[in-house]
Symmetry: C2
Subunit: 147 residues, 2 copies
C-alpha cells in the first residue's frame, strides 16, 4: 500500500507555506509540525509583518503546536521546514523536544549544523535534502527579485 | 558625578523580573533591554504560564523592545539578563543585533558560550558576572524548593 503521508508529502505542505511567505514579501521559509501523521501546526516566516526578528516559521509553528496539544513538549512530533533551522530555531526545537526534524535546503551561512550542532534533543533525528531543489529555489528566486 | 545608570543598576532591574518569575513558579530568569539609559522592555520567563517552551525572558523582551521602537533591529541597545542566554536566546539576540549583552550567572549546561559561541552579532560586546551571586542564588533557591 502506498503511504501518502511520507516526508515528501509533508515537505510539500511546508513549501506551500514558504510560497505564502514569498507572496507576502517575507523570506520564504515554511514549516509544518506533524503528530501521528496529522499536521497540527503550519506557519511561515513573518518577521516583516510582525516586525519581529524572532518570528521565524519554526518558532511560530512550535508555539502554535504546543497550544494545539496543550502539552509542554512536542515529543513524538516531527518538524518539516524548507530551510535548515538557524541557531535560534534549533534552540527552540531542542527545548520543545521535537523528535524528528526534516529540512529541505541547507543554510551554510546561518544553519545550526555548523553554529550550534548540539542544540537539538540528543535523541532527535535529523533528515535533510527532502525536496532540496524546490526549497532552495524559493530562496534564490526571492533574493534575486530583491536585488 | 555618580552615574546611577550603570550595569549593576540595570541588572538589579533584571533581578526584580527574575524574582517575579519565581513568585509565579517560573524558572527565575529576568531581562531588561536598555536604550539610551532607558529601559524600553522588561520581561521574565513565562514558559509555564504561556505553556510555551520558547517564552524565555530574553525572547519576550526582544519582541517587546522591537515593538516599542518600531524598529526591526536593536542596534545600540543593551540586554541585561540574570542568567547566561541559551542557544535559542543567543540566536534571537543575534538576529535582533543587540549591541551589548550583560549577564549575571553563567549556565554551563545550556549557555550559548559553550553551545553556540558565534550566535551573537560579530560586533556585540559581552559582559558577564554582574551581580553573579544574587542571580545564581535565585536559581539555586528555586530548584531547591522544587525538590
Amino acid at each position: 500500500m502506498i503511504d501518502p503521508f511520507n516526508d515528501e508529502y509533508f515537505m510539500k505542505q511546508a513549501l506551500i507555506e514558504a510560497r505564502a511567505a514569498a507572496d507576502e514579501g517575507e523570506v520564504p521559509v515554511g514549516a509544518v509540525i506533524v503528530c501521528n501523521n496529522r499536521i497540527i501546526a503550519r506557519a511561515h516566516n513573518q518577521t516583516e509583518r510582525l516586525n519581529d526578528p524572532t518570528a521565524h516559521a519554526e518558532m511560530l509553528a512550535i508555539t502554535a503546536a504546543v497550544g494545539v496539544l496543550g502539552a509542554k513538549y512536542l515529543t513524538g512530533c516531527s518538524l518539516y521546514v524548507t530551510v535548515e533551522p538557524c541557531v535560534m530555531c534549533a534552540g527552540a526545537i531542542g527545548w520543545s523536544q521535537l523528535s524528528k526534524i526534516v529540512y529541505g535546503a541547507s543554510d551554510e551561512k546561518r544553519g545550526f549544523q555548523q553554529y550550534a550542532p548540539k542544540a537539538l534533543h540528543p535523541k532527535a533525528t535529523v533528515k535533510k535534502g527532502i525536496l532540496e531543489n524546490e526549497c532552495a529555489e524559493e530562496m534564490r528566486n526571492f533574493f534575486q527579485r530583491k536585488r
